[in-house]
């Protein structure tokens, strides 16, 4: 997927540079992942392994010769991504990102406006990170065999990786497979509830999901994970609840509660390895209680989605009991 998906969201000057840059980027054989705009700084396109600075004529050049992003470029992007509707983007500005149709995300950084110690909104946006979403249709049956086959049904599973290593993509693929079922690995269909606090899993836009999450998946969009997990358990009777980026104490408590209610949990978490995960004070109690039975560790070692290990976790036992898969490329 190239830069074309971003056409609608940029002003004329920026888009002119980017459309010319597309031809040069194709030669690098790498997919653009991010377009970075910072007022007064060079226009930057980021791929999986490199940063490219783009000149006004579209050439990939040194930073000194690159197109300098203007304030008007950022304000045009802001007007377009908010659809000229600042009132509708209040929550997005507060959270620092806007979700676009197709699941693309625009990260924003400006000046935080505080109210009683909390961020009310952001003003004077100075940096924009346009993150291009991809929806790979990879075959993950080899991973499902390792993770999902269990005499007690689908095990509580944690996907662990550093940022930009493909954990949300893998979560999405797992949700789809669990929802539709995977006859090739004798996995029956499940009712899946997705609590998508940052609109990243489903990429919901005006009530419609940008990504296919399967036929039996219900999505609760932009809802805090703690409240969302409780709501899902009460109202949608899911077999499995999926959440992204576990991290808060309250979220961990909600996960434990849902697990006690007989709902299986599928979650992602930032960490470099299981060792690092156990060092996270918020997550450690969750591992101590033995809620999660499997952990899938991803890295960027061979590009995003490099499957490092699948761990079996037990009550307070985090050590690797067998590296079931190693060095496979997943999503």
């Amino acid at each position: 997927m190239g830069l074309k998906v971003a056409e609608k969201w940029f002003g004329h000057d920026l888009w002119d540079c980017l459309v010319k840059a597309e031809a040069h980027l194709v030669k690098t054989n790498e997919n653009p992942e991010e377009i970075r705009l910072r007022i007064g700084c060079p226009l930057l396109v980021r791929t999986a392994s490199q940063d490219f600075f783009v000149a006004a004529n579209g050439r990939l050049v040194e930073p000194e010769a690159a197109y300098r992003v203007k304030e008007s470029d950022i304000s045009q992007v802001m007007e377009r991504v908010t659809l000229s509707s600042m009132h509708a983007a209040e929550e997005s500005l507060r959270q620092g990102f806007v979700t676009l149709p197709g699941g693309h995300r625009v990260g924003l950084a400006g000046e935080a406006v505080l109210e009683q110690g909390c961020i009310r909104t952001q003003k004077n946006i100075a940096a924009v990170n346009f993150r291009i979403a991809r929806d790979p249709q990879s075959d993950i049956s080899f991973l499902l065999r390792q993770v999902a086959l269990n005499s007690q049904g689908f095990p509580h599973t944690l996907i662990v990786s550093p940022p930009r290593a493909g954990k949300t993509t893998l979560l999405r693929l797992l949700v789809r497979s669990l929802s539709n079922g995977a006859p090739e690995v004798a996995l029956p269909p499940h009712r899946v509830g997705v609590v998508d606090e940052r609109s990243e899993i489903a990429g919901m836009w005006q009530g419609a999901a940008s990504f296919d999450l399967g036929w039996r998946t219900d999505v609760l969009d932009k809802c805090p994970k703690k409240l969302g997990i409780e709501m899902m358990v009460r109202t949608m009777s899911p077999d499995i609840i999926a959440v992204d980026e576990l991290g808060g104490v309250e979220e961990v408590e909600a996960v434990k509660e849902a697990a006690r209610c007989g709902v299986k949990m599928l979650a992602t978490c930032h960490a470099d390895s299981i060792g690092d995960l156990t060092a996270r004070s918020v997550i450690k109690p969750l591992l101590d209680t033995g809620v999660f039975q499997k952990a899938v560790v991803l890295s960027r070692r061979r590009g995003p989605g490099t499957l490092e290990k699948v761990h079996r976790l037990g009550n307070g036992q985090f050590e690797v009991r067998g590296s079931l898969v190693r060095d496979s490329k997943c999503p």
Binding site: W9, R80, L83, S85, H87, A88, E90, E91
Partner: protein, 168 residues
């Protein structure tokens, strides 16, 4: 032959008078509809936090000519246009479908200048302000408009007769 010519003059001027009278009545109706549209827009913005293109699309239900007007603005925004510029373009393109005066357009354009530019509380205030101004215009015009419309419906025919008498 002369009789036919005189009849054409009377009918022609009479028709012009009726057309003017209907324009005056339509203006009031269109202002009422615009005010109704603003109240629906206020609900969409304040309670629904609906993005403008979606909110404008929903205003289609108020019917011609405002429904088409808001639909065109929504389409412009969806195509990547900026609100103020898109609003101005749609006003220029669709002005002929309306019977509004220059003062009325000033009020309409005020919405184009402020819509979507602030948080929902501020938007609510702006919309209320424009609605109050429209209601004020409507109230002062309601009595006058009916009187003027009646006057123009007679005026056309009487003017036609006067022209015929002058010719004779």
């Amino acid at each position: 032959m002369a009789l036919i010519r005189y009849a054409v003059i009377i009918i022609g001027l009479g028709w012009l008078g009726l057309w003017r009278a209907s324009t005056i009545r339509k203006r009031l109706k269109q202002l009422e509809l615009f005010e109704h549209a603003l109240s629906l827009l206020d609900t969409e913005i304040f309670w629904g936090m609906t993005p403008l293109p979606v909110a404008f699309r929903r205003l289609q239900r108020i019917g011609f000519p405002w429904g088409n007007f808001f639909l065109s603005v929504a389409e412009g925004l969806e195509a990547g246009g900026q609100i103020e510029e898109t609003w101005r373009e749609v006003v220029a393109a669709q002005k002929s479908y309306f019977c509004l005066t220059a003062e009325d357009w000033e009020l309409v354009n005020r919405l184009g200048g402020c819509a979507g530019r602030s948080d929902r509380h501020e938007q609510h205030k702006q919309l209320m302000l424009i609605r109050n101004q429209i209601q004020g215009t409507e109230e002062t015009q309601r009595v006058d408009a009916e009187r003027q419309a009646r006057m123009w419906s007679y005026f056309g025919f009487l003017g036609g007769i006067a022209v015929v008498i002058a010719i004779l």
